[in-house]
Symmetry: C2
Subunit: 224 residues, 2 copies
């Protein structure tokens, strides 16, 4: 087991929790980063704290950056409703450039820590149609990141790990269960209550519920 | 003259002011973005406001993101001194991943505005050795940005303009003077006083002063 430092983006959702478990299983000392960006589902941040602790993270940092200054997403703008049925194209819950901003913050923190590894739970299979979850996007971010920092100039290679990128939701859930992730701690719902109860109707809830069904694992999610 | 919307990163320094003037001369409706990131030289933000107004920006948005949460730069960490002589390698004033974070925020705002053009005053000639001012870095960011957003998915091309990239400081100053930029409004000093007086000794002051000398333009900078 190495104890190389890695920065792990941790939202409090299911995918990033499993990603943290994968990083831990590979021996990384995990510095978890959560971004409180003014999202509707702030309960996610509390969930992230629980998950980080349960999975033995080295530290968990919550950074506030209020993406509501730019508006234009159902996740940050109270005037836009969260859709309750899958639609065509890119959904209203897409937050402009969110992964680019989050990965940039992970890059900054990684540079300060001397970490050459960043983990993100992005997924291109059972995903919600977000441009910044696509493999080609993540590949381009990694290429850019390798030119962006001191480490890059000094020839130290940065790796952007996306261990879930080609897994279905059911496979992610199975992977998490095998790695002893307490999936009940995670919150996926876009409009979870302050107590962490899921609506059961939004895209994120539908994907999660179907994933548990297909994985034949009993769904620990508490629905409102 | 077109009136296409562009996002212009505006720090309040000399380079970004000239960049805004270039964007305006090309007919862009300029949405200026300044980031208050906990830098020592906050007077820059006031300078940015003056510059935006003087050059006819459509709007000027100041976004707060405190990069001090990550530490490790003389510009944000009061425990690290600003160097007063040019050294070897990457200087202490380098802020980890700063341009990547700023450009990501510009990308997010641009997407909300429907703007396909971003301007940055990065410079690779009389620069301070920052990795994220290099042409190859900016090229990689543009490639990533074109995969990151809704516009990218829909085939709308995003352009990252870096009009000063190959200019010397003297050429930038001449360009600014030709475009009637009031260079006295700009603040370059890393440790300017609250009144905007420059120290005259830091790297940024040295580069700026030498630029005015070489451009044979009288230096309007107010030194402490």
């Amino acid at each position: 087991m190495s104890d190389r430092a890695a920065v792990v983006l941790l939202s409090g959702g299911l995918d990033s929790a499993v990603t943290l478990a994968v990083a831990r299983s590979e021996g990384f000392a995990c510095h978890c980063l959560s971004i409180d960006y003014g999202q509707r589902h702030r309960i996610e941040i509390d969930a992230a704290g629980k998950v980080a602790k349960a999975l033995g993270a080295t530290q968990h940092k919550v950074v506030r950056f209020d993406l509501r200054v730019f508006g234009a997403s159902a996740l940050t703008d109270p005037a836009i409703d969260v859709p309750e049925a899958p639609g065509e194209g890119i959904p209203a819950t897409y937050v402009p450039a969110r992964n680019t901003i989050f990965l940039s913050l992970a890059l900054a923190w990684g540079e300060v820590l001397g970490a050459s590894d960043i983990f993100i739970g992005a997924n291109a299979v059972d995903y919600s149609g977000y441009p910044d979850c696509r493999p080609e996007y993540l590949h381009a971010f990694e290429a850019m990141a390798n030119l962006a920092t001191k480490a890059g100039v000094e020839g130290k290679r940065l790796t952007l790990h996306r261990p879930l990128i080609y897994l279905t939701k059911a496979e992610i859930i199975r992977r998490g269960a095998n790695l002893d992730v307490n999936l009940a701690d995670t919150v996926s719902c876009y409009q979870a209550t302050a107590e962490g109860l899921a609506c059961g109707r939004c895209d994120a809830c539908r994907l999660r519920r179907a994933g548990f069904e297909r994985a034949r694992i009993s769904d620990p999610t508490r629905y409102a």
